[in-house]
């Protein structure tokens, strides 16, 4: 009755339709069932091990070998100098970590009372989305929906948690949304991520005053991010006469390419967030 070609076309249409429905349903919620956390349990520990190995190798390469090559010039003291250099490089690496962690700790004590420091062990496999895996999980008090920050400002939000690892969606991800304010004029809008690594400050009325260089801070109204936390600077404003809202581009303060450690703020998320997700 039906030709083979017809069946293939109908099959493809049905498949695409089913695919759309599944994606639409799945895309509107984060998985909170076990299936969505399998990799956090089984792959994240390996990511952790690989990240540690890479950091160690990089530290060794940057410090030990660079300095050891200088030591080769001194033949008389070669052996002792190598040892000294090796020790020195280790201390140097510790010192740098110390400075970074001290900054984090100062920030932690001055701004946020209850928080957990975590290291990034993995990044999103896709260049289209921006998420990271951190080495702290529910055993450390991390829960879904908690805000993630660094001294420079807001970094993201926890979207999935396993025992010892968690997934954090960065604010430059297109699915992220942060209720925010222009610090100077108090104009309100929503910060959304962009594929360019910048953010878009959406739903700002055209009548509101926003200028390049203005600071954008969290409004605290989303019940997730602490009020007043820095997000970024306005780097572009376009006001079209035909539109209600203006187009505002924001460059985040946080350098997401170089993000290594973060703080997860242990304040309760908005009451309905966990239920919604």
């Amino acid at each position: 009755m039906f030709s083979k070609k017809m069946l293939v076309v109908v099959g493809a249409i049905v498949l695409i339709g089913a695919n759309l429905v599944i994606l639409y349903i799945a895309g509107n919620r984060y998985p909170s069932h076990g299936l969505g956390r399998i990799a956090l349990y089984f792959v994240a520990p390996f990511q952790d091990a690989v990240s540690v190995a890479i950091r160690f190798s990089r530290g060794t390469w940057d410090n030990y070998f660079a300095l050891a090559s200088a030591a080769r010039e001194n033949t008389r003291l070669k052996q002792s100098l190598n040892q000294a250099v090796a020790r020195n490089s280790q201390w140097r690496e510790v010192e740098l970590s110390n400075i970074r962690l001290r900054q984090l700790l100062d920030f932690k004590t001055t701004i946020i009372s209850q928080s957990v420091a975590a290291e990034i062990v993995g990044r999103d496999p896709s260049s289209w989305y921006q998420a990271v895996i951190i080495n702290k999980g529910s055993a450390d008090g991390i829960r879904k929906g908690l805000p993630v920050v660094v001294p420079e400002g807001i970094a993201g939000q926890v979207t999935d948690v396993s025992g010892h690892y968690a997934k954090v969606m960065l604010i430059i991800d297109r699915n992220s949304a942060v209720d925010a304010l222009v610090q100077r004029t108090r104009a309100r809008g929503i910060i959304k991520g962009e594929v360019t690594g910048r953010c878009r400050f959406k739903y700002v009325m055209r009548k509101e005053e926003v200028a390049v260089g203005d600071k954008i801070v969290a409004s605290g109204l989303d019940g997730v991010f602490p009020k007043g936390m820095a997000i970024g600077d306005v780097t572009g404003v376009v006001k079209r006469t035909s539109e209600i809202f203006q187009e505002v581009t924001v460059t985040p303060h946080v350098d997401f390419e170089k993000l290594e450690e973060v703080l997860v703020v242990l304040i309760p998320p908005a009451p309905d967030f966990a239920e919604k997700q």
Binding site: I22, L23, G27, Q47, I54, P125, S126, S127
Partner: protein, 175 residues
């Protein structure tokens, strides 16, 4: 045995993609390596054997990504079937056939992602940036893709031979 190869390579590629590449800024614009492995599976392996691996790889990538759940499973399945169709359409004698099939697979994966943005209302405000990303990935795929796919094939052959030898030794010792 084959599944052992899929597990080792799949997890290795996921670790490379998520923990190693982010530390090398030059490689940021590269295509998805796990997706490339799916292209290899679609091109060279029987569907019944490869499909479970494709679904599991998609599930793992979904877990580690900020993408909506099931997007990777969907994308990998489309890549898998798309590559099979492409390998039927493109003549064997065609020059750059493997490169075209690999680029086609990478394009399908990117199209699924872009389509998901539009469908889920996340839309892209920077079409130029999105197009740039896709073009760069396609260029890399055209140049590097065939080499890596052939590498996967060669490694699979070596794996099978090694496992076969080990199993043969085990059997002869048992006798």
């Amino acid at each position: 045995m084959t599944y052992g190869y899929y597990i080792v390579v799949g997890i290795g590629l996921i670790l490379f993609q998520t923990a190693v590449i982010p530390g090398i800024p030059v490689l940021d614009t590269l295509f998805d390596f796990v997706g490339l492995f799916v292209i290899y599976l679609g091109f060279y392996r029987p569907a019944r054997e490869a499909l479970p691996a494709v679904v599991i790889l998609g599930l793992l990538a979904d877990n580690l990504s900020g993408a909506p759940f099931m997007l990777y499973i969907t994308a990998y399945l489309w890549v898998f079937f798309g590559v099979r169709v492409l390998s039927l359409i493109l003549q064997v004698s065609l020059r750059f056939r493997t490169a075209l099939i690999v680029s086609g697979g990478v394009l399908i994966e990117n199209l699924v992602f872009v389509f998901a943005f539009v469908l889920l209302g996340a839309g892209t405000h920077s079409p130029a940036a999105a197009t740039g990303t896709v073009i760069l990935q396609l260029a890399w795929a055209f140049v590097l893709g065939p080499i890596l796919v052939l590498g996967f094939r060669g490694a699979h052959g070596i794996w099978d031979r090694l496992i076969g030898q080990t199993a043969g030794i085990g059997r002869s010792e048992a006798k």
